[in-house]
Symmetry: C2
Subunit: 353 residues, 2 copies
């Protein structure tokens, strides 16, 4: 019997609880044993919830229960989540998360802690929502030297840009629509200033290149400055504007990494990825380009990725552990002033093939 | 030390030998031990080859060498390959293959034999060439009930259709060009009559739905009958014609499966997949649609998929084993006369969303 504790009952956390319930027979079949959510930790009250009997407020209940095998951390942020994750790993519990901020900030420490305690720290859901990208890149492309990762990794900004491109709506109006639909937060800066994309490209680049790249070393430009004029000019030249996260390993061993609105040709596989969808192209020396495309956010898609990690934790502790080392970014990440990006217009980089 | 024997030194086999050589340091790092190709089996002579010292002609050399851990079968077909695969598995060696014909015909038996002998039988390269699809579908979408698989799985026919659509070239002329470029064989029937696509959709559907689906139970139509008139008519209606393999699980538990040229809307993620590229969309109950896109054939892309399977064999025998059961197809595969496909034109099915 596998017992799961879900920490944080927001969009993703509640999706995970529902998925474990709805597809329970499927999980049990894949695991050859029963699985259930035993605890849900949240500071808020959910009086009418059908899961009311599972709620706890004190993390030590989870930490000290030897029956709990897996902690799903969907709190977000890098304060409580950081603390809970360390405590769970030290208590010998696997941790599965969708928390890109925590992974981007502290993965080397948390991965090492997981190793020491013989458990997994897995985070497929932290990049690309439901799209399988971390596992396919790390395992299925394992025979490749990876050279480059380019992707649309933020649904909110892609929704805004799609509105501007398809309907000629201004940036401000498109942002308001995104907020009305719940795609953008009241304070949308983490999305529209590219911070979220920055965390995600850091996670993928760290995995691909084996050393941790910290978000503060990534040149990050968002889409606040993009006008309809820019969009129209790109269109006239057969291009579309997308907010991309890019990381490329250069011949001298340095990684060039940035987040920027980019002009890309209409034929590019990422050009047709619209609305809140995400798409990520990975380039390896044997496979060439390979693109993964799907729902980059949302309750059930993200729960799908968490669910796969839960199964992986149970099926093969040692095997599924990801790993990379901490690093002094100044020695292998190319800084802003040395990037020499080519620009389509002032704030829009040109994606070179 | 891991020793590999590559059986068949054609396009894929020679790619695997080269990749093991070129990225040897990468393989060793992932495996925490050395790896090398010890034998190459081929009935032909390769006198000038830099691998000349590795060639053998008698499979029993490989079978009886206890140092050989993994046999890579790239012979193709279901005669010699079938025999060699069974002998290798019985001798306790992992088998990795790109041979879709053999997998589509005999997977249940070969998977069971692998289990009995505590080894893996893996075939990521049998569908979608280098694109990771089997592992992501089977492992990364493991928390989903899979409902549907739709894909462009044959590069040759996609090249021909792309030529017809983009350049207004007739079917016969496009086929001749494909033959000149080496994309199509002298006898192109396995590709253009949809047989190859049929094998691939059978493999994916068997994985997804847990029971083996035999190619002879799949209604299979190729692209011989497609004229430029059909292409133009589709274009006028905002659609493109693609050769698709489709499998869908219906509410009554039956699987509807077919291969057919299909008219799909220009906005569909598969509509923009051109030339020899492949793309496969998998639908799950949690993730929704998820598309994998890349090089569906070719020496190094296919070797990339074989390479990932080689690493998987070494890292976790039990964990990476795929499995499904043999089945009487009449009890769960919907036959042709009950499919009720909607047709765009006589020979072109309509892909419904």
């Amino acid at each position: 019997m596998i017992n799961v504790a879900v920490v944080g009952f927001g969009v993703v956390g509640s999706g995970v609880v529902e998925l474990l319930d709805k597809n329970n027979r499927l999980f049990s079949k894949k695991l050859n044993q029963e699985i259930a959510c035993k605890y849900i930790l949240d500071i808020r009250e959910f009086p009418g919830s059908i899961y009311a009997d599972k709620f706890v407020k004190d993390f030590s209940v989870i930490e000290n229960d030897p029956e709990i095998n897996i902690v799903v951390e969907t709190v977000g942020g890098a304060t409580f989540a950081y603390e809970y994750t360390k405590r769970a790993l030290r208590a010998g519990k696997h941790v599965v998360t969708s928390n890109k901020e925590l992974v981007a900030k502290h993965a080397p420490e948390l991965l090492a802690l997981a190793r020491e305690n013989g458990v997994c720290y897995l985070f497929e859901a932290s990049v690309g929502g439901g799209i399988p990208i971390i596992n396919p890149m790390y395992h299925c492309l394992a025979a490749n030297e990876l050279n480059r990762i380019v992707g649309i990794m933020n649904g909110t900004t892609n929704y805004i840009l799609t509105k501007m491109i398809k309907e000629g709506v201004s940036f401000d109006a498109a942002l308001r629509q995104a907020q009305l639909l719940g795609y953008a937060e009241k304070d949308p800066s983490a999305d529209i200033d590219g911070i979220d994309t920055g965390r995600k490209i850091c996670i993928l680049a760290s995995l691909a290149f084996g050393k941790h790249i910290y978000p503060e070393n990534v040149m990050t430009k968002g889409i606040r400055g993009i006008s309809l004029d820019d969009i129209y000019e790109a269109d006239r030249q057969g291009m579309v504007v997308k907010l991309l996260g890019c990381a490329e390993k250069k011949d001298d061993g340095f990684v060039e990494i940035f987040v920027s609105p980019c002009a890309i040709p209409r034929e590019h596989p990422l050009a047709n990825i619209e609305d809140v969808f995400n798409g990520i192209t990975v380039t390896g020396d044997a496979i060439g380009d390979c693109t993964f495309y799907g729902r980059g956010a949302g309750k059930m898609p993200t729960a799908s990725a968490v669910g796969a990690d839960i199964i992986d934790c149970v099926k093969g502790t040692e095997k599924s552990s990801l790993f990379w080392v901490d690093a002094d970014n100044s020695t292998f990440v190319r800084s802003f002033d040395k990037l020499n990006l080519e620009y389509f217009k002032n704030d829009i980089a040109l994606l070179k093939e």
